[in-house]
Amino acid sequence: MRSHMLRAVPFQLPVPESQPADLFAELRRLAADAGRGDWAAVAAFLGGLRSLDDLAVACGQIEDKLDDQVLQRVPYGDPAWALAYTMLGVRTVLRGWKIRGTGWARDVTRQQWAGFHEHLNRAEQILIDVTAREPQQGYAWLERMIICRGISLGHDEARRRYDRLSAHHPFAYIAGYHLVQQLQPKWGGSWEKVAEFGAELLRTAPAGSVGLLAVLAGHMERFQASDSDVEGTALLRAPATVAQIHQVADRTVRHPAFQPGYRFYTAHDYFAMLFSLVGDHAAAAPHFRALAGRRTPLWTSYFDNPGVAYANLRDRALARG
């Protein structure tokens, strides 16, 4: 990740990152339940979540806390079976990544690749079973989208998985986010494909839909992948892009039907960083106010010193807003 144009100001205190469990009390309780291995409580809570985005955020808080044996004991026929087995798949993928390491592909040894692929293949086979038995299980399709990228099964297959997911969970932000990842040049796609997908979302997603935030993910990824800050900012400041960011804002955070659930902070993070980067600090101000001094790990994906960058941009926005 390259350094951001806003250099660290010495006296600025970095704003720490907040995990969903820090931001939402019920997720804190969920994590505690999972830590105790209380599957019944975990399953009851997760079963009550209606949106795939909420489910994905909640599961993200406990995937590393539950024991494999606890999950394997959930019998087929149990209402939480698909959830438990998807989580098993997710945990298998995480173990695969642990073997591979998060470094550059060129630094990964042959043995590490073999272990990585073996784990991802095993996870995929668990999830093939889950989606075969319960095609409406969006969480499993989501993980299959991620595996699709990990073992290079191709764009069309990623899109097919996204479509299968969307058939039951239309316009989930997290699914769109992962499709944006897949469509980027670094995974063999192109920025045209990312832009097409963004336009498709704007054309098809109903107002208030959290899935529209994936359009913003496309812009942030484009900014991050550019060769220099100047170039990246110039891309964001293109009138069509600025207009699109406002269009998304009008249909999400500024729209009465918008129900972000656990994506509340993510949504405001996107607008806070994007409006700041395009130089419209006044537009960024309400989002920094909504964030109330919190930030999600999203900043870490796009800024070298996320805490400092956040503090700087916030101060500029609030000074003018």
Binding site: L120, Q125, T131, C148, L153, D156, R160
Partner: protein, 613 residues
Amino acid sequence: MLRHTEVDGVPTLLAPGSGPMVAGLTFRVGRVDEGLARTGITHLVEHLALHRHGVADHHNGVTGGIVTHFHLRGAEADIVRSLELVCDSLSDLPVERLETEKAILRAEAAGRADGVTALLPLWRYGAQHFGLVSYPEWGVDQLSADDVRAWAHTWFTRENAVLWISGDRVPAGLRLRLPGGGRRRPVPPAATVLPSTPAYFAGPNGGVVFDGLMRRHTAGTLFGGMLERELLRALRQEGGLSTTASASYDPRGDGFAVVTAFADAPPERQDAVLGGFVDVLAGFRVGRIEQADLDAVRAKREEALAHPDVHAGRLSGLATDLLTGEPVLSVDELHAELRAVTLDGIHDAALQVTGSGLLQVPPGHRADWAGFTAAPATSSETIPGYTFRSVDGSGAALVLGAEGVSLVEGERRVTVRFRTCAAVHAWPDGARQLIGLDGITVRIEPTLFAAPPDTAARIDAAVDPALVVRMPARTPDAIPRPYTPAQPPPTRLFPAASPDPNLVLVPGAQQGLPQPLIQPQDPAAFPAGRFAARPGRTRPGTAQLIIMIAMFAAGLVFLSCAGVLTIASVEGIEPGEEEFRDVAWYVIVTIAWTGTLTLLGWAGYLLVRRLRS
């Protein structure tokens, strides 16, 4: 409805039909019985047997995998005459037509497009029995009049035949003068070469193909229908990925049946068609099967059974059942069986079929991620024997042993043992291609390996002469040359690994020249990077040439320095400096001469090596 009788010792099936009379004579012989070196012999006999009818009549022959049918349609008197002609011809083949019919078969083969499912048998069964249907008619060229006569007298006998007629009686005066003294021939064993299933291999472009086995049961026909329905729903209606998808259920003749499925895949949608196909199979495997789908497929099947000509239409299939010793079911019995099939029965069929499945994926794709094992394209061991390196220095090696031959390239090897050899293609220029019963192929090109000149003769002597297929002479440009750097660099990994005769036909060639598993003349056959310098074996490349010239140059510089210093030391010794020169001067001169000799010597060694190679 269905009556059994006998005509001249030939079991006969009668069933009513509307329209003109249809009759047929079916024999329990087909491509699975031939052997790789004789592929096409049944087809040739079928052509010769029909010759006397001329081509304009409504007579036809079909050479299948396990049976050969002669179909006749027309007035009763014509059918009687035609059946008698076929039988007389089979007793006494018009062998004077042999070369003409061979030419017709070659033309037919050239014009025949292979079906999308053509490769599956070869990968499942190798180059014998049920696998033979994947191979071209390689045997046709060298079959003699005696060969075809013997084949007819062994297989086209009254004991190995069934007559079937749409009508209520056998036409008066019908005589079947077939060769006698034979016996009812069982279908050959269906031995698989797949070490584990479900398995996969990469086939040509076009789509995703799958087959799997189950014990023969009416549930299979319904499962096939449901599989087709689900493929169409998932890949065409829902995903817009494929334009066609199909599935079929075909009895194999040994109590088992094969369920085959196909979905086409445009090049830009191959990943998604493969993914969707895998998910459809998984849905059946886990038992996500809807009663409504079963009912819909069953209703369609029952509707087909309600057709007025159903009895006549089933006759050729029933003749096959009779010949293979399987139960011959009436339409009522079939109805009852269809009605008895439950969702559990479908799931049981699905479990058998998916468990024994073989998946053909588009080129460059894999299916290990979905739990399919790669079908073997190489051998597990190398034959003990003498090793001959490839002359192009690629590191490939040919091993000639007393028991067989191997080609070795890195960790990959292909081996054909003489005693399990299915056929040997022999070219006049000395090239030999051995195909093992497991479908693994080894091609020996004399121009590519420094093997002894009598290699071809030794191989010919080591295998059964009946397995040697003489190939026509090749044009010089069809004979491979060693790899040279001027050719395009290697790009693919072991692509010729498929023992697939269809991929191997040399474009435009009348006689399909089969390609070997490892193709030393094709740089693409070697993993990328294999042509990097291997000390001691490779021909010096450009880099080495530059090093050699640089050494010569440096050597000359040292030589001139050493010369000047030596001359200086002999000539102008200045007084007072002798003390210094005694030590340092001579050290410097020695270093100069040592450097000269080392550099020039090394460069000279490289030059000699280059000239020798």
